[in-house]
Amino acid sequence: MEPIVKKWYEYLEEGKIMGMKCNDCGQVNFPPISACRKCRSRNLEWTEMSGEGMLLMYSTSGYWPGEKFAPYAPFAYGQILLKEGTIFATKVDGVPVSSPEEIEKGNQGLPAPVKAKIVDGVGGRKVVVFEKA
């Protein structure tokens, strides 16, 4: 088996957000994995993600951040239903986080379309976040 995690982060460096499509059941696995999350098949191949999704909800981080994310706090963290059908969770830009009232109001406007973007992560590698238009 080829290294999957290293390859995925290398794809991000090239500007590509990749998932793994199951050739047996058609499930698009994101993030990539060694066996299909739906049917357990190992018959998977790399596929480029659309980067499109719907933000379902978001809360904020900053009360007990992991040390590595402290510089970003407070930031929005949300669950995104990807166009390809699975849920991913990451930092979300373009939504209000400055007060509980704003977060409540921001959540009332959901679900709303969001678009993926590749940014510098805290560990020196690229990571994927989403942005609301």
Partner: protein, 417 residues
């Protein structure tokens, strides 16, 4: 005669902080385990010679100063040269181990198996001194750095994962799924906290026992009402819409459970393990592991949700009183928040929930916690729960634990004959 392997003895230490709580102050990993196990031996009226095997739970070697935990514990438990091993499914471990012990006993090779677990979450041992008495206070940030090794570090954790947002997202998911307003969610979360503090105020083993009820604390803090205290900056949002008091309180402690195929030989009412099941998966969760674990345990036990008289859910996030109790079938979908507000989930209600105080009131000593939940169910079934004894007969009890991140374990119990 009970057909299934039974719990014949239970024990647990006071949950607290080994740097300051008198009952457990200055005790090491092995001493906490031994204290819980000896209470269980005495509770059952069993000698260590009769224990045929043992399982030890412990998640954080940085704080326990132990790898190969069963080896380190063996002599201290009075179990020198007995078969023992360590397992780790994070905070569900001691319930996972109760299932493993049940099957070991059912195989016929072992008659009595001890399940024990201990954790330190408030202090750690310096890498320089590596001496168990040289403990330093542990910050929540550092605790979570170590605890978060249970979260997928390939992808999930790198993408801004944190325990704080988990509190927020779990609450939001309940609100959005069930069309519950923030005001109603917040009222329900306050009532849950009042319940678990009330339960803890009647449980001398609880970390919050000495603090009394939430109402008493609000008055001590100078607030005219508990509602005002709840919404004050003494209780900030950990991740909107969830406030700090709706999360766990970190505890140190240990628990011990003895599973037997020969319950009649021992002195206490045996508690039958009717069924159990587990399910494991990675973040982000969609609730499916909980469904699989509940369904598997109910099927093995041959029960329906309407049979449940007492429920224990894993409430490091207290929104579990709402969403997990509904997944368990204890309440219809979308109705748990109303049941909570009606007082039905208090120890004296018709749907008692987490009568020990749970992970906020009793405190959360990670891999000791599921054993502490089993301890509470056994005490309640025997009628030994004192002031917090539920007010109705308990024919069926269900225990749910969620090991980070995420291993769900469920067990079904009934009083043996």
């Amino acid at each position: 005669m009970a057909k299934n392997p039974c719990i014949i003895g239970v024990g647990m230490t006071k949950f607290g902080n080994v740097l300051e709580t008198p009952e457990i102050k200055d005790k090491t990993f092995q001493e906490l385990l031994a204290e819980a196990a000896f209470e269980a031996y005495d509770d059952a009226g069993i000698s260590p010679e009769e224990i045929d095997a043992f399982i030890v739970g412990n998640m954080l070697p940085y704080t326990s100063l132990s790898n190969s935990q069963a080896t380190n514990a063996s002599d201290w438990l009075g179990l020198r040269c007995k078969p023992g091993f360590h397992i780790d499914t994070a905070c569900s471990t001691t319930l996972t181990a109760i299932g493993v012990a049940r099957d070991m006993v059912a195989s016929g090779k072992y008659r009595n198996v001890l399940v024990t677990g201990a954790e330190f979450t408030n202090s750690y041992v310096d890498e320089e001194t590596v001496f168990p008495l040289d403990r330093k206070p542990l910050s929540p940030t550092r605790l979570w750095n170590w605890t978060d090794y249970a979260v997928d570090h390939n992808f999930g954790y790198q993408h801004f994962y944190g325990f704080d947002v988990l509190n927020g997202v779990s609450g939001l998911a309940y609100m959005k799924t069930n069309n519950v307003s923030f005001e109603d969610y917040d009222r329900a979360m306050l009532q849950i906290n009042k319940n678990v503090r009330l339960h803890a105020s009647m449980n001398p083993k609880a970390i919050m026992y000495e603090q009394g009820t939430l109402e008493e604390e609000a008055e001590r803090e100078g607030f005219s009402s508990v509602e005002e205290y709840w919404k004050s900056d003494k209780n900030p949002f950990i991740g909107w819409p969830t406030r700090r008091k709706s999360a766990l309180n970190y505890a140190d402690g240990a628990s011990a459970i003895i599973v037997s195929s020969e319950p009649k030989k021992y002195k206490k009412l045996p508690i039958e393990i009717l069924g159990f099941h587990y399910a494991a998966y990675n973040w982000p969760w969609d609730g499916s592991a909980d469904v699989v674990a509940f369904e598997g345990a109910y099927k093995m036990a041959g029960i329906k949700p309407k049979d449940i008289d007492l429920l224990s859910v894993h409430d490091c996030l207290q929104s579990a009183h709402l969403d997990t109790s509904e997944t368990a079938g204890y309440f219809e979908k979308g109705t748990a928040w109303k049941a909570v507000l009606d007082g039905r989930t208090r120890f004296d209600g018709d749907k008692p929930l987490n009568t020990s105080g749970g992970r906020h009131g009793l405190g959360h000593a990670f891999e000791a916690s599921a054993g502490a939940d089993a301890y509470e169910i056994v005490k309640q079934m025997r009628g030994e729960a004192g002031e917090r004894q539920v007010r109705k007969p308990i024919r069926i009890a269900v225990q749910h634990n969620a090991g980070y991140a995420l291993h769900v374990a469920v067990a079904v119990y009934r009083p043996g004959k």
